[in-house]
């Protein structure tokens, strides 16, 4: 019999807030953290909107001098890890550090160093490129700095599957625990994409909202007037443990991580399969892995990016998996509030899925006001108390990288 994997800690640093309750409260109130970009001048960009973390102060979470030497993406993952560790009280227990691993996803890696050092190279030549460039540009910095900080000596992985990185990381960590390779895994995602070059790249693809006049309304998943995603930044980390390990140390258990489905659409670099057939298959795999049938899912935290293509394909996919039940199944996207945090999106949404079960409340889709005739499911315009035994969290990345997770109420 396979080991049960449980969630015993959560940590978020995201545009909706820091910690656990602050972002959750923000989400439930239906607010949006999207606004005009302040990190750099967007004068010549098409899109000028992002969901930023305001007044970021890494010294609240780590030594200030150490923070100066690492990329913002690693600062985010360290901060989220610290919050999750404190929440789980893991470090207060008698811990075998060789049995604690880390698996954190990132789509873009150390973008601050990538961009600033490229500028240094062009402006001043190769001898002015900083010696800490390589360890900071390496995507695995988001996981290795966490291991270094707390001396976690178990498996250390970084998963990079674009917008699905966070969900894949959680799924791979779950498999590590099930395979007996570790007792505890810190799993999640981190991203620092609101940088001039990365932002320009997404801007050039014309996939970001240009709702510059009403930035607070720019991220509006499933709404008929949606015109692209809004970039977000931050990180989220979950403490995953085998049930035995969690029970033995008397940990509080939020929920069970019961299912993981991963596949690829093999179709296009950035466009989803229009009928969502690959996304549907990923959902089926996760539901089967959790030993459930589709009608036992009580809520879907959708990928819901607020692009025309994703939200339509995802709606098709949900209908093909759930049939008539799809119309009675609440589906919401928290990206209306947080924007799209790329490699951190799946992780922060996993936290919200767990909190939905923990508080028995369906979080709303912020900014959902006008029905799209082609997207006609229940997208939950306001938060709703509900009986939630099982929740599905969807992540679909560029390159048709799909990862779905199923969380179950414990007991």
């Amino acid at each position: 019999m396979r080991q049960k994997i449980v969630v015993t800690g959560l940590g978020m640093v995201c545009p909706a807030g820091m910690g656990i309750l602050e972002p959750w409260k923000f989400i439930l109130e239906g607010r949006s953290a999207c606004g005009l970009v302040t990190h750099f001048d967007t004068g010549r960009y098409r899109s000028k909107v992002a969901a930023e973390i305001k007044n970021w102060d890494p010294s609240l979470f780590m030594d200030a001098d150490f923070a100066k030497r690492i990329d913002k993406v690693a600062q985010f993952s360290l901060a989220a890890s610290r919050i999750a560790l404190d929440d789980s009280e893991l470090l207060k227990s008698d811990l075998d550090f060789s049995r604690v691993g880390v698996c954190i996803g990132t789509g873009l890696g150390g973008t601050f160093f990538t961009e600033t050092q490229l500028t240094a190279l062009v402006d001043y030549g190769p001898k002015r490129v900083h010696p800490l460039t390589v360890p900071n540009v390496n995507p695995n910095a988001v996981a290795t700095f966490v291991a270094m900080q707390w001396h976690f000596l178990g498996p250390n992985l970084t998963v990079s599957t674009a917008c699905a990185s966070g969900s894949h990381a959680i799924g791979q960590a779950m498999m590590m625990l099930q395979a007996g390779r570790a007792d505890v895994m810190l799993a999640g995602g981190s991203e620092n994409p609101i940088m001039p070059m990365m932002f320009a790249g997404f801007d050039a693809m014309r996939v970001m909202s240009q709702c510059n006049d009403f930035p607070g309304m720019a991220s509006r998943p499933f709404d008929v007037n949606r015109d692209g995603f809004v970039m977000g930044e931050g990180a989220a980390v979950l403490i995953l443990e085998t049930e035995d390990h969690a029970t033995k140390r008397g940990a509080k258990i939020y929920a069970e991580l019961a299912g993981y489905g991963a596949n690829n659409g093999g179709f296009h670099m950035v466009t989803p399969q229009p009928d969502g057939c690959d996304a549907a298959q990923a959902m089926r795999l996760a539901i089967e892995d959790a030993h459930l049938i589709p009608s036992q899912i009580d809520y879907i935290n959708a990928h819901g990016t607020s692009t025309k293509a994703n939200d339509l394909a995802e709606t098709h996919a949900i209908k093909s998996v759930f049939g008539e039940y799809a119309y009675r199944l609440p589906v919401s996207s928290t990206k209306g509030a947080t924007g799209h945090m790329i490699g951190a999106a799946g992780a922060v949404e996993a936290c919200f899925s767990v909190l939905a079960i923990h508080t028995q409340t369906v979080p709303p889709t912020a900014n959902y006001t006008a029905l799209d005739p082609d997207c006609d499911l229940d997208y939950v315009p306001v938060a709703r108390p509900s009986i939630l035994a099982a929740v599905l969290s969807n992540s679909f990345g560029f390159g048709n990288n799909n990862a779905c997770l199923v969380f179950k109420k414990q007991g």
Partner: protein
């Protein structure tokens, strides 16, 4: 640039780079190792020195750096080379 001026600026760089290290007893004869720095800290320090003094320190000179004075001498030599 005069040696004492270089040394003064170097101490400033060291203080900024290693704020947790007590530099009060540091003098020209002090071994760089007293800063408790590892190899990565060392290349960062050289990077800062190169940037602040606007010089280039050749890799073969790095082996000669043992004391604060030896670093000052190299800075002085390379500063002249730039002029």
């Amino acid at each position: 640039m005069f040696v004492d001026k270089i040394a003064f600026k170097l101490i400033e760089i060291l203080q900024k780079k290693f704020p947790n290290v007590d530099l009060t007893d540091l003098d020209l004869n002090s071994d760089i190792k007293v800063l408790g720095i590892d190899s990565l800290d060392f290349v960062e320090l050289i990077y800062d020195v190169e940037t602040q003094f606007d010089i280039e320190i050749p890799s073969e000179s790095l082996l000669e750096i043992t004391t604060v004075e030896s670093l000052v001498v190299i800075i002085q030599k390379e500063s002249r080379a730039v002029v």
